[in-house]
């Protein structure tokens, strides 16, 4: 059992200058908040892009005021061109998957709470930590620049399949410097994430307080730890893939481009490359990436649920082992994105088995959550509502995965709205619900003021109903053969589906507007919210044993000692029905 005293690893003095305290901070808490702020900016932009897309799909000839100032070429007179639609689509996906779903649940909350929950003063490598945030911010700025260059943002989707993404501007608008900026941005993002993952892993293994064994760590700590192990290998593959793409585009190499391609009447001077190689490299990263997006939210939801229902989960150990299996299996399934890609059909069959198998730990986790809820008396806070909403969304989005996992069904459903519905519900909604749950749960701890609970509940209901209205119809659209990534629907066949598309667009705009309530709540409560007590939710883990917000070195001059796990809810303790991890009171088990 690791007994190293955290204090000896890296003593740093409290920051004094404004820059050191708020800008170039080495403090994991400030860095966590910076990641959260970045994710907030990215999700706002990503959502606006999605509104533009949804608007264009149902009113393709509408002139959107102001858009022609952002791009005279992409939206002349405010009317979105087909290529600009694809740019919006590409940037929407890129922003959301990378800068929101990897940043918010993992980098933001993980950075803030992992060290505190294990009883450490800070991360193992505070300087690397600061570097990883600033690298990620640089990646964001490089990406955004693509909006302002003459040729516009790339149009090849967040998946950037070669050779469309590799050939260069011959392949069409948006594929000149926009694609280069995309590749550079993602490469930077990979570098930042790798540093972050290294930090999380080292910190978890080396800096746990006395008595904090691995099995006593809260479930969300485990989720961040497993996520960083996944991230270390996944981003390590995407980074060279992006570099190879940049080389193909700028240095005349042919990793992904075969010979004999005639693009825009020009025979391309490349030979020997394989477009499927890009797909394999990308999805070898891409599938673990979606588990990077969901695992932290699963951890946060487990954490919030226990505090809300005042009892432990049926088996935290099984949850942890399930998360470990998901992490392990996530590396064996990437080919299910490539069932009809032209790869050997025998490979498709092989990939389908681990894909179906990964449903097993996910189902077990869901059954444990549901089983734990049975008979529970839940304190219905906004955080609890979002945690329960997560379970609903995870199930709704997850079951469509059972269909897509089978190659024979995927022949029909691949590239339709069915897939889009599936991944939006699990990533775009469920994962975000985990972020919302974490926000309502931990805002008080991070800022010293509580979020408004009434606004939180209104936010929940609008978002819950709204996202169901937006994304459930996608499954129906997919089954009838509505193809994705089309900027306009020109087939006569699509005519009868347009009223449904209009309904989805209006639901999206209303749900989007509902998020303003959340934004308002964040900013208003930051300055005028009710002062936060140290332990507003009667939680057991170590973040509730420090002030709100915690001092610069988390625990002051005290080195916390841990006596049991964080699941001591519903037991008789000096504080009521719970016993905190650092309380020396005797408990059964733990």
């Amino acid at each position: 059992m690791q007994e190293a005293s955290p204090a000896q690893v890296h003593v740093h003095t409290p920051p004094t200058s404004f820059l050191r305290k708020h800008v170039f901070s080495l403090d994991h808490k400030v860095i966590g908040l910076q990641y959260y702020g970045l994710a907030l900016a990215a999700v706002t932009l990503g959502m606006v892009l999605s509104w533009l897309m949804r608007f264009h799909l149902v009113w393709p000839n509408a002139a959107i005021p102001g858009l022609n100032f952002i791009s005279k070429v992409g939206a002349p007179g405010g009317v979105i061109t087909p290529e600009y639609y694809l740019s919006l689509l590409t940037m929407h996906g890129t922003l959301m998957v990378f800068f929101v779903l990897t940043n918010a649940p993992f980098a933001a909350f993980g950075n803030y709470f992992l060290p505190i929950q294990i009883g450490a003063e800070d991360m193992a490598f505070p300087r690397f930590n600061m570097m990883s945030f600033w690298t990620t911010l640089a990646a964001f700025l490089v990406l955004i620049t693509a909006f302002f260059i003459p040729d516009g943002p790339p149009i090849s989707g967040w998946t950037a399949y070669a050779p469309l993404s590799a050939i260069g501007s011959d392949a069409g608008p948006g594929l000149g410097w926009g694609q280069n900026l995309w590749a550079i941005s993602i490469a930077l993002f990979c570098a930042g994430s790798l540093l972050g993952a290294l930090n999380f892993i080292s910190t978890t293994l080396d800096l746990r307080a006395k008595g904090m064994t691995l099995m006593r760590m809260p479930i969300c700590t485990w989720a961040w730890f497993i996520t960083s192990c996944i991230a270390l290998l996944a981003f390590a593959v995407l980074l060279p893939a992006c570099l190879l793409l940049i080389l193909d585009r700028t240095a005349g190499t042919s990793f992904f481009i075969p010979s004999g391609l005639v693009v825009s009447d020009r025979l391309q001077p490349h030979a020997g490359g394989s477009p499927l190689l890009w797909q394999h490299l990308f999805w070898f990263f891409g599938h673990p990436e979606v588990y990077i997006a969901i695992l932290p939210s699963m951890g946060i939801v487990s954490h919030v649920l226990m505090a809300s229902m005042r009892k432990p989960l049926l088996s935290a150990k099984v949850i942890i082992y399930s998360m470990l299996s998901i992490g392990f299996l996530s590396y064996m399934v990437w080919g299910h994105h490539m069932f009809v890609s032209g790869m050997n059909p025998f490979s498709s069959l092989l990939f389908s088995f681990p894909t179906l198998t990964i449903t097993i730990p996910a189902t077990i986790m869901t059954l444990i959550w549901l089983g734990s809820l049975y008979g529970a008396n839940i304190r219905m806070t906004s955080a609890a509502l979002f945690a329960l909403g997560f379970i609903s969304m995870f199930v709704s989005g997850g079951v469509s995965g059972f269909f897509l996992a089978q190659p024979s069904i995927d022949i029909y459903l691949h590239a339709t709205y069915f897939v889009v519905g599936h991944f939006h519900m699990v990533m775009g909604v469920a994962s975000i619900f985990g972020v919302f749950a974490g926000t309502y749960f931990w805002f008080g701890k991070m800022t010293g003021r509580m979020l408004n609970e009434t606004l939180g509940k209104v936010h929940f209901w609008i978002t819950f109903i709204g996202t169901y209205c937006i994304f459930m119809p996608f499954h129906y659209l997919g089954i009838v053969g509505n193809i994705r990534r089309y900027s306009t629907f020109v087939d006569d066949f699509m005519g009868p589906l347009m009223p449904l598309h209009k309904f989805i667009t209006i639901a999206a705009l209303i749900t989007g507007a509902g998020q303003l309530i959340f934004l308002f709540n964040l900013f208003h409560s930051r300055f005028w919210g009710k002062p936060a007590p140290q332990n507003p939710w009667d939680g057991t883990s170590l973040e509730w044993s420090v002030p709100s917000p915690p001092p610069w070195n988390n625990f002051g001059d005290v080195h916390p000692v841990v006596y049991h796990d964080s699941y001591q809810y519903g037991v008789k303790g000096s504080k009521g029905d719970y016993v905190m991890q650092d309380s020396p009171e005797q408990v059964v088990g733990g």
């Binding site: 061109t81 087909p82 290529e83 694809l86 149009i155 399949y161 070669a162 050779p163 469309l164 050939i167 392949a171 069409g172 481009i257 075969p258 004999g260 391609l261 005639v262 693009v263 825009s264 009447d265 025979l267 477009p275 499927l276 049926l314 088996s315 099984v318 009809v340 890609s341 032209g342 059909p345 498709s348 069959l349 389908s352 088995f353 179906l356 198998t357 449903t359 097993i360 189902t363 077990i364 059954l367 089983g371 996992a405 089978q406 190659p407 024979s408 069904i409 022949i411 029909y412 691949h414 590239a415 053969g481 193809i483 990534r485 089309y486 900027s487 306009t488 629907f489 020109v490 087939d491």
Partner: protein, 182 residues
């Protein structure tokens, strides 16, 4: 309870996998019929073109550097020097006789595309640099949309052709017309 869940989901997963592979095998691991109709399809930004071997039953070689859309030489054929290319039939729609197996030979001219026919449950990506095959037998006459389902550029949303499934006589009539047009 966990053990029960494990067994239940595990069995269901195995069942899906085992039954599913039968469906998959019927598409990919079944030997083609000897008298299948050979058709080549080329996908390029933003149209599909189809080539039949013509009366000599042979496809002429392709020369990418000879592709000239303005003169309707979509495939890059060189009839002047290649004998087999002289009678190749090039069409913008895929005409096939009903109840006859079709061997579709797929290649991409520029970037990735995909071939998708909803009603026949067909989907297969084109991969530049790879010659891929798709086998199918249409059982109902009719006109079906062929859509591109792999993002290929700004015209992706409008990249389509038609699969025209005809009776054997109509198909022979269509072929005769096309040959005389060439």
């Amino acid at each position: 309870m966990v053990v029960a869940a494990f067994i239940l989901v595990g069995t269901e997963v195995l069942a899906l996998g085992v039954f599913g592979q039968k469906a998959w095998a019927s598409v990919y691991f079944t030997a083609p019929k000897p008298d299948d109709l050979q058709v080549q399809v080329q996908a390029g930004q933003f149209a599909f073109y189809f080539r039949y071997p013509g009366p000599d039953g042979k496809f002429g070689p392709l020369h990418p550097d000879k592709i000239d859309e303005g003169n309707s030489n979509f495939f890059g054929l060189d009839p002047a020097s290649d004998v087999e290319a002289r009678d190749d039939v090039v069409a913008a729609e895929l005409a096939v006789p009903v109840n006859r197996e079709v061997h579709l030979m797929m290649h991409a001219k520029d970037v990735g595309h995909s071939f998708y026919v909803r009603e026949l449950r067909l989907q297969q990506d084109f991969v530049p640099g790879l010659d891929l095959s798709l086998h199918f037998t249409a059982t109902k006459p009719g006109k079906y949309e062929i859509l591109c389902t792999q993002l290929c550029g700004l015209g992706h949303y409008n990249m389509k052709a038609y699969l025209d499934v005809m009776t054997q006589e109509d198909f022979e009539k269509w072929m005769k017309e096309k040959i005389s047009e060439q």
